[in-house]
């Protein structure tokens, strides 16, 4: 449930554009990524139980690998 000042139709405007993500191993860590046009990947989510991995900028959501 959303609690925001932005109207719902703007937040959810292009809901159908969410593309398929895939999982791969990057620097020994499991990550969920979105493939980009130039053969690179954009990190969507880091899958790890080590909390310190989440402080590493190369694994932050949105990072390009």
């Amino acid at each position: 449930m959303l609690y925001t000042i932005v109207p719902e139709e703007i937040v959810l405007g292009e809901l159908d554009k969410v593309s398929a993500s895939q999982e791969l191993t990057y620097r020994g860590k499991r990550v969920r990524v979105l493939p980009l046009a130039d053969g690179k990947y954009q990190i969507v989510q880091l899958i790890s139980s080590n909390p310190n991995d989440f402080l590493r900028s190369e694994f932050s959501p949105g990072a390009i690998i």
Partner: protein
């Protein structure tokens, strides 16, 4: 390497090509060439855009993902090198449960946390802002307090209304127990009419948030860092 000073581009000596590639990546990603790399004994966490929870939001939204924030909070709490957390908010709100989850995590940390509301800390940003042990708001920053609702949905059964009411109560109770504001006063701000053009509720700006008892002080980065430093040194 490019260095922007006072709006003028200053070209300095070209670094090695590996650095150059990194710089291009930084410009594309952050719009700047250098990021500070000095070791810090505090951790600054930014809560920006929409707080993304159970649902992946479409790409036109700038989002803060709670599944990334929560383990970061665990790392901050556990890492002996980190003495405190600076929580910087500029958020339009977002998922109720993700927001409350972040707020509860921050409120239950044993390490000192200071929040700073810059720009806006609206809707579900309000409980996150008050969750820190001490909160600041910039003079120009705003917070919107309004009821939780389902837009575009016809409330057909009384149970739906009860459900919304329960979700809202969770926010009201959390804010009241983590700040100086009472549940009555917070509800009064939430349901006030005639303040917002398209909705019921209230917008509080800077000092007004402090006067309402939501936020502890008006201040900026300097004040927030000084407060955090004095807290982890055990001075306050």
């Amino acid at each position: 390497m490019h260095d922007v000073r006072g709006g003028n581009l200053v070209f300095t000596e070209q670094p090695a090509s590996k650095d150059n590639a990194e710089n291009i990546e930084l410009i594309q990603g952050l719009g700047q060439t250098q990021v500070p790399s000095a070791e810090s004994n505090i951790h600054a966490m930014t809560i920006v855009g929409q707080i993304e929870g159970h649902m992946i939001l479409p790409p036109q939204n700038k989002t803060t993902k709670y599944e990334h924030i929560i383990p970061q909070l665990v790392a901050i709490e556990q890492d002996p090198k980190i003495h405190g957390l600076l929580l910087i908010l500029n958020t339009v709100g977002g998922d109720v449960e993700a927001g409350l989850a972040i707020a509860e995590m921050v409120a239950s940390m044993s390490k000192p946390a200071v929040s700073l509301v810059l720009g806006g800390g609206h809707s579900i940003g309000v409980p996150i802002a008050v969750a820190a042990r001490y909160s600041f708001i910039a003079e120009t920053a705003t917070m919107t307090i309004h009821p939780i609702r389902l837009t575009g949905l016809v409330i057909s059964v009384p149970q739906t209304f009860d459900y919304l009411d329960k979700m809202q109560e969770r926010v009201v109770r959390f804010v009241a127990s983590n700040s100086r504001i009472s549940t009555e006063r917070f509800r009064e701000l939430m349901f006030r009419t005639g303040e917002l053009a398209r909705d019921i509720g209230t917008v509080v700006v800077g000092k007004e948030a402090v006067n309402a008892g939501l936020i502890d002080s008006v201040g900026g980065l300097g004040e927030a860092l000084a407060k955090l430093r004095s807290m982890y040194r055990g001075e306050s």
